[in-house]
């Protein structure tokens, strides 16, 4: 079998919303932690679209619910997490669409790894310490292709390792005999074993040093060009996303607050939180701005206040922000490819001007 899968032709970077069909569509996904009378609503009606061939970056401070979103969308959320509503539509290779959350157990099992693979945040502990790398690569392949022989599966496993730049003789290694970077690459190789359409990577490189981080991400992006899968890349490092992502979704307190092409988010953030988040990281090019950071801390999700969750930290907070929850919608500039959840863009009367921060 060849690793060459149809590379979607004509995927323009920063493509507008109509450029390609969605391959993964999360709609109004809500997640609670805790079963009791007073569960913590961690995700509130999160909607997100990943188009074919696209790299979607998901950014946000620690604890905003990025991992929760990844687990929920793949139905891997451990208790006490509970999906309380929403849909996750996945478009199969044949063009058929299915709601992952509505699949039967057997259908779900078949779709996992074949259509949607995930590299977890704890990639260091993602490999079973008592099995050789080989076995862990092979059992996933054989679970989906029972008619493939062991020898063929082993051949495929070797090929996968070479794909991520590890020599095939490491197949016989146990996880503890590999370096952190190698384990991470093995996880990526494992995720690509069945040529999934969607690869979700949750902070895939946080445990590694900067050089290794770049190397691995570059490699994934290169493989993406070759194999044609789509990527959801989760990280709190926005500057990294600006480089590799086509679009960025910014998350705050369990909600998406802004989504737009990567370059637009970077150059002209429209949500005060995005602007603050970008201010927390040094700019990639051009004159160095002063690092502003965001004063204050993210809200405690178990004690939600009404209104905009960012209100206590927002430099432009208005009265309406404290009472009404802003929903994702068009910007005041009515940009094509951008959605934002902020009252600044909807509640200003005709005469008022947007603050500079979000009006550039």
């Amino acid at each position: 079998m060849s690793t060459g899968v149809e590379t979607s032709p004509g995927v323009a970077r920063d493509a507008g919303p109509t450029a390609e069909e969605p391959v993964l569509e999360v709609r109004n996904l809500s997640v609670d932690y805790g079963f009791g009378d007073d569960p913590t609503h961690v995700l509130r009606e999160v909607s997100l679209t990943l188009r074919r061939g696209e790299v979607l970056g998901l950014a946000g401070e620690s604890g905003c619910g990025k991992s929760t979103l990844a687990y929920a969308a793949t139905r891997l959320l451990p208790p006490p997490g509970l999906i309380t509503g929403g849909e996750v539509w996945l478009t199969g290779r044949d063009g058929e669409r299915a709601d992952l959350l509505a699949l039967s157990d057997a259908e779900l099992r078949a779709a996992r790894w074949r259509d949607i693979a995930i590299v977890f945040q704890g990639a260091m502990s993602s490999l079973n310490p008592v099995f050789r790398v080989e076995k862990q690569l092979i059992d996933g392949i054989l679970a989906h292709r029972p008619r493939m022989g062991r020898a063929e599966a082993r051949e495929r496993a070797a090929e996968l390792l070479r794909l991520v730049g590890i020599s095939a003789d490491r197949l016989r290694a146990y996880p503890h005999q590999l370096s952190g970077g190698m384990r991470q690459r093995v996880m990526i190789a494992m995720a690509l074993a069945l040529e999934p359409q969607v690869l979700i990577m949750d902070e895939p490189t946080t445990a590694l040093d900067v050089v290794m981080q770049r190397q691995i991400l570059e490699q994934v992006m290169e493989l993406r060009e070759r194999l044609g899968f789509s990527v959801v890349l989760i990280t709190h490092d926005v500057s990294l996303l600006v480089e590799v992502a086509d679009r960025i979704a910014v998350m705050y307190a369990g909600e998406i607050v802004e989504t737009a092409p990567a370059r637009d988010v970077y150059q002209r953030p429209r949500h005060p939180y995005s602007a603050g988040l970008l201010g927390s990281f040094p700019p990639l090019h051009g004159p160095r701005r002063e690092l502003a950071g965001i004063p204050g801390a993210p809200p405690d999700l178990s004690q939600r206040e009404p209104g905009c969750p960012f209100a206590p930290r927002c430099p432009h907070v208005m009265d309406v922000c404290r009472t009404e929850l802003p929903v994702l919608g068009r910007t005041a500039q009515a940009e094509e490819a951008r959605l934002v959840a902020c009252h600044l863009h909807t509640s200003l009367s005709a005469g008022e001007k947007l603050p500079d921060l979000v009006a550039r």
């Binding site: 099992r109 790894w113 079973n128 310490p129 008592v130 059992d139 503890h176 494992m190």
Partner: protein, 327 residues
């Protein structure tokens, strides 16, 4: 390989220490009951056997300590543990080697059964945590809390005295001649059923609870989530990933409990008058049969050691991390 060598050396040293302590203990006891007993036996004991006993019990004060120690090792290596006083003149080695297989057979098999059943139930309960399966936990805790002798007496009272289904004591039908025949083996199994049942009942709960707790811990490990994410069948995730790792600490305690099979069956063998090593030790203690006591202790010590070694090796086989030098 170096790992293996290191372990073997370690156990050889421990065995040497245990045997050496066994040599010194009688020498440090105040007074000596053995001289008196030897005196009573005078005339009936031949000089060779008397020499063995003197060496074993430190009564050969006319030679140097070093010479005594060498003699002692010489006797052990020849399998000479002296003569039993109560079963005079049967060699202690014979008595021990006759009773040991009964204990190892009965309690060993019962322990293995308890371990397998308990670990399977624990695997299931841990996998289904947070469901109705948790309702079974108090039952397990109850069985773990019940004292063994009480369980044994209740079992005898109900299944043997009241219902008359099983004999209440002994290890085979005395009317039969021990032989490798179906009839004799059937009788051994029949007589052994009740004691084995009590051993299983009293120890299975520990395996259930231990395995269940480990399953709960391991189930939240990232590699188990990955196994789910890969779309592996649930049974494969449960057994191949979760249980495979959860069983590791169980294996260590299992081998340790095998070590206690020999020493720990005293109560069972007393309750059921079962002719194992525990019963033998009990008799030796109550009749002041010092050579037999010493022989039993030596066997018990060595069996705990062997079990420890097996535990170590089994663990190393199951967990590749222990086999590397740097961890």
């Amino acid at each position: 390989m170096r790992f293996l060598l290191r372990r073997v050396v370690f156990y050889a040293l421990t065995a040497w220490a245990a045997i050496t302590i066994n040599f010194f203990i009688p020498r440090m006891l105040p007074g000596d009951p053995v001289t008196a007993l030897l005196g009573r036996m005078q005339g009936r004991i031949d000089s060779n056997a008397e020499h063995s006993l003197r060496v074993l019990f430190g009564l050969d004060q006319d030679t140097s300590m070093w010479q005594q120690y060498l003699d002692y090792w010489g006797l052990l290596l020849r399998g000479d543990l002296g003569l039993s006083f109560t079963h005079f003149p049967t060699p202690v080695a014979d008595i021990v080697s006759q009773s040991l297989p009964w204990t190892v057979g009965l309690v060993g098999v019962a322990t293995i059964i308890a371990f397998v059943i308990g670990s399977l139930i624990g695997t299931f309960l841990g996998w289904r945590r947070g469901t109705w399966a948790d309702g079974l936990l108090p039952v397990a805790t109850f069985f773990q809390a019940v004292p063994y002798f009480w369980l044994g007496l209740i079992t005898i009272a109900v299944l043997s005295v009241n219902l008359g289904w099983f004999p209440s004591s002994g290890s085979y039908d005395r009317g039969l001649v021990p032989a490798f025949s179906g009839e004799f083996i059937g009788s051994v199994v029949y007589y052994g059923f009740l004691p084995a049942l009590t051993v299983v009942l009293s120890s299975v709960a520990g395996w259930v609870l231990g395995m269940r707790n480990m399953m709960v811990t391991v189930s939240s490990e990232d590699y188990v989530t990955v196994a789910h994410a890969k779309g592996l069948p649930e049974r494969q995730v449960m057994l191949g990933y979760a249980a495979r790792n959860a069983v590791l600490p169980q294996v260590s305690s299992f081998a340790l409990s095998l070590g206690f099979v020999v020493g720990g069956t005293l109560i069972m063998e007393m309750v059921f008058s079962y002719q194992g090593i525990g019963y033998t030790l009990y008799q030796a203690v109550s009749t002041h049969d010092y050579p037999l006591m010493q022989g039993c202790f030596l066997v018990i010590t060595l069996s705990v050691l062997v079990a420890n070694m097996v535990a170590d090796l089994a663990y190393a086989l199951l967990d590749p991390r222990t086999r590397t030098e740097d961890r």
